[in-house]
């Protein structure tokens, strides 16, 4: 069992190193950072001096090694764009992304489950058809278009909600939140819907099909025969059994919510890590890009590692050390 854990941990480290290597191999195709760093008036001598200073003349393996040795000591390099430590910038931006991702995940879960249950119980009818048809929009339209449409309707035409930014933000030093003020909450609504719409549709359709399946099961029929009310049957027996696969899928979707946030953040000028990443790609800000990719891969690898450990706890066969 210990060997299993160690093996998994080693695999995670290898995955991280591989991600970093691929990322560094790709940076050379993103462009030349010098071009953005020096103004129009630079001379060729300036270019050469800065290139040497930043180690951009080294082979990418050497650059990657320098990054790794720095990263182990907690130094992720200095942003080419802002001239500040890359890690500081990312940590400063992370709360905005996590807040947006959490709110949209909650929105997707709650709305998805509620609408899924409703459409499963009322299989026909105008409301159900409308929900199902509009939910198709959620899966088929690209995120940026949904964002622009929502901005057009709710910000430009109706003027109810802000079209960009985070509104009023309270800073606790280590965390920033927009949830404490009405302005901040208002700013969160459109981006959260845009980001969560796809996941909401997915969960809704999953709940609907699962629950339709379950409502046909024998034990539901027996429950009905026992004379239980429809409410008890639906919510005490059916829903509970529906939710097991839903939770598995929803867990997997959290990662993609954070990944999708790049587009949503760009459309709404949401000051999170996704927008930071796009800005960094355009500027060829290698330290920030590398730190962001490492952070995201640490997160994904971490989630996978925890899932593996949970399997270990659940599945006794893995505990004998004969997992193969």
């Amino acid at each position: 069992m210990i060997s299993y854990i160690i093996k998994r941990a080693m695999q995670s480290v290898v995955v991280l190193l591989a991600v970093g290597l691929v990322a560094f191999g790709m940076f050379r195709f993103v462009g030349d950072p010098i071009d953005n760093m020096l103004g129009q008036e630079r001379t060729d001598a300036d270019v050469e001096r800065l290139r040497e200073l930043l180690g951009l003349n080294d082979p990418f393996i050497v650059q990657y090694w320098d990054f790794l040795t720095g990263a182990i000591q907690g130094d992720m390099g200095v942003s080419f764009r802002q001239g500040r430590p890359a890690l500081d910038i990312i940590l400063e931006r992370l709360p905005a992304t996590l807040e947006l991702a959490t709110v949209s995940a909650v929105f997707a879960m709650v709305m998805g489950i509620l609408l899924g249950i409703y459409t499963a119980i009322n299989r026909k009818g105008f409301v159900t058809t409308t929900i199902l048809t509009t939910s198709l929009i959620g899966v088929s339209l690209p995120t940026f278009l949904i964002g622009i449409l929502l901005i057009y309707i709710f910000a430009v035409e109706l003027g109810w909600l802000p079209s960009f930014g985070r509104g009023d933000v309270v800073d606790f030093g280590w965390w920033t939140t927009g949830l404490t003020s009405w302005g901040g909450i208002k700013s969160l609504i459109l981006p959260a819907i845009t980001l969560g719409l796809y996941q909401m549709t997915l969960i809704m359709r999953l709940v609907r099909s699962e629950m339709s399946e379950i409502l046909r099961q024998d034990y539901i029929r027996f429950a009905r025969a026992r004379g239980l009310t429809e409410k008890t049957i639906n919510f005490r027996h059916a829903v509970k059994n529906t939710l097991i696969p839903v939770i598995t899928v929803a867990g997997l979707q959290i990662g993609s919510i954070i990944a999708f946030s790049i587009i949503t953040e760009t459309v709404f000028q949401w000051p999170g890590v996704g927008l930071l990443f796009i800005d960094s790609v355009q500027f060829v800000d290698i330290p920030v890009m590398a730190s962001y990719l490492m952070l995201i891969s640490v997160m994904f690898v971490g989630i996978n590692f925890i899932v593996d450990m949970l399997y270990l706890a659940i599945d006794p066969r893995l505990r004998d050390g004969k997992e193969g």
């Binding site: 030349d32 953005n36 103004g39 129009q40 500040r84 760009t266 709404f268």
Partner: protein, 526 residues
């Protein structure tokens, strides 16, 4: 009924809030300032924000004219043409209350001349700077520099005491791994004080109570909220919904939408930026064409034919929706040396161009690759697509290779392109600046953006002579002379001058700055 009441209450509420906040301007553009350190980046958006907080000795007003800022008088000294002397403004305070004097100016110049500074190229002709009393300042140059003032309009002055107290004497660099104090904080003499700043998110400025220019400038705006909004559609939406009052970059396809809104207006002016194509005319053979052993661009007849093949009016009407000024010379119209004759747009004449191609021995045409940016200039990729079609008419098959600017521009500086698009702005408003970077033979000191491989020792000597020629008439004659060669040799294929489109609330009254530098002290509110 209830709904009606609440709607009208809301309207009243909205009206009253906009009245109370009448002196606040919410300002947006695509990119944020990169740093608050005024010597760390020589870049447009960074300078624009710095201009509200810091001040140079001399400044260009919103029409591009040089006017006094921290210096009241200046000129070359009578007995020594290598010395420029400046009389500094008295009674000026920094935002933290410190007094401004010549020590601060010497400090700031010396700071801007260090290797980490991005402003050092503009000061490369300076040998030494020194004080001349509390309110006197002198610059000694290596040779006479007749256009010194135009190099100083973005050179901001810091307080020496503040920089020393906050250990920010050095310009922000990328070696130390630590940010300098000046990259996040600011203490200038300018009309606005930095209140708070979250990079890429929001910067708040408020009027400086002890500003020396009170009474001299309108200073109607008392509070500025600056938000970069990257996505063009969102930026326009924010302007239409009234969340933003002033947008510096309205995309051309949305101009009529903004202008048709009764609460908004769009004002336009030619920008100090010209867009053109460069050709590798120096190499014996090209790597991107299909002609073996020869370089078709080396033949001036081919270049002339290509100049004739570009239909600049069509590009202006179709691609730019009227928002450009067709150009005949690779020089913005504000620049010393510009004449109407030089900027005469060559008529598109396909028949004549074809005849010239045949005369040059390329009657059957050839193929070449055009490199283009796709995120730098207004509709850059679309312009390239249009010229590809135009060159096809004279038999030149152009393969278009459009890339983001971070990949496009290194091709120009590393000489890995034979045919490329480039745009050029001239912050000094003088032809010498264009010649230094685009015409002089590429070398360590000059010609860093000249990928045409054009090299002419005679022209190089003339360009170098401009730097120290104090007889302005003689200097202008040399400039005209160089331009004649550039035009005769078809060094570049000019396309157009860009037009700036500023969208703003009806209440704002300003003109468009040709360098896209909004200076809010000049803004009036109705």
């Amino acid at each position: 009924m209830l709904k009606k009441i609440s709607m009208s209450t809301m309207a009243i509420l909205l009206a009253s809030t906009s009245f109370a906040a009448a002196e606040t301007v919410n300002w947006a553009r695509a990119g944020d300032s990169l740093t608050m350190d005024p010597h760390a980046q020589n870049e447009g958006s960074t300078h624009t924000l710095a201009h509200q907080i810091y001040e140079p000795l001399l400044i260009r007003d919103m029409t591009g004219k040089i006017v006094p800022a921290l210096a009241t008088e200046w000129g070359p000294s009578k007995d020594n043409p290598n010395v420029w002397s400046f009389k500094l403004r008295e009674g000026v305070k920094f935002h933290d209350g410190a007094d401004f004097d010549s020590e601060d100016v010497v400090f700031s110049f010396e700071r801007a001349m260090t290797p980490d500074s991005d402003m050092k190229e503009l000061l490369s002709s300076i040998k030494a700077v020194r004080t001349n009393g509390k309110y006197g300042f002198e610059i000694e140059t290596k040779g006479p520099n007749p256009i010194m003032p135009s190099n100083l309009t973005n050179l901001f002055i810091l307080d020496k005491g503040w920089a020393e107290a906050n250990k920010t004497v050095k310009v922000q660099d990328f070696e130390g791994g630590e940010e300098t104090f000046a990259s996040r904080n600011a203490n200038g003499t300018g009309p606005y004080v930095l209140v708070s700043r979250a990079p890429d998110s929001k910067t708040e400025l408020k009027a400086f109570d002890n500003y020396w220019g009170k009474g001299e400038f309108p200073l109607h705006i008392t509070k500025i909220n600056y938000t970069p909004i990257k996505n063009a559609a969102t930026r326009v939406a924010a302007l239409l919904s009234g969340e933003v009052d002033f947008v510096q970059d309205v995309p051309v396809q949305d101009l009529s939408r903004v202008d048709s809104d009764p609460k908004l207006k769009v004002i336009k002016a030619p920008q100090n930026r010209v867009i053109f194509l460069g050709l590798n005319q120096g190499d014996a053979d090209l790597s991107t064409d299909n002609v073996e052993g020869k370089n078709p661009f080396a033949d001036v007849r081919v270049r002339k034919a290509m100049r004739m093949a570009i239909n600049r009016d069509a590009i202006m009407k179709v691609v730019m929706r009227g928002q450009s000024i067709p150009a005949g010379v690779a020089m913005p119209p504000f620049v010393n040396g510009w004449t109407k004759e030089l900027d005469m747009v060559p008529a598109a004449d396909i028949a004549a161009a074809k005849a010239m191609m045949a005369e040059a021995g390329y009657g059957d045409g050839f193929s070449a690759t055009l490199h283009c940016p796709n995120d730098r200039y207004i509709n850059d990729e679309a312009i390239c697509q249009a010229v590809v079609g135009m060159f096809a008419q004279i038999g030149i098959t152009v393969n278009l290779d459009a890339k983001p600017k971070a990949q496009h521009f290194p091709q120009i500086t590393n000489l890995t392109t034979d045919f490329y698009m480039l745009g050029w702005g001239v912050p000094t408003y003088d032809s010498e600046y264009i010649f230094n970077f685009l015409v002089h033979t590429k070398g360590d000191k000059r010609g860093s953006w000249n990928a045409s491989r054009f090299s002419n020792a005679d022209i190089d000597a003339k360009i170098v002579s401009l730097a120290s020629e104090t007889d302005l008439d003689k200097r202008n004659a040399t400039i005209a002379d160089i331009w004649k060669t550039v035009q005769d040799e078809v060094l570049y294929l000019p396309i157009h001058h860009q037009v700036l489109n500023w969208g703003m609330a009806e209440k704002i009254d300003t003109v468009v700055d040709p360098e896209d530098q909004a200076k809010f002290k000049y803004f009036k509110l109705k």
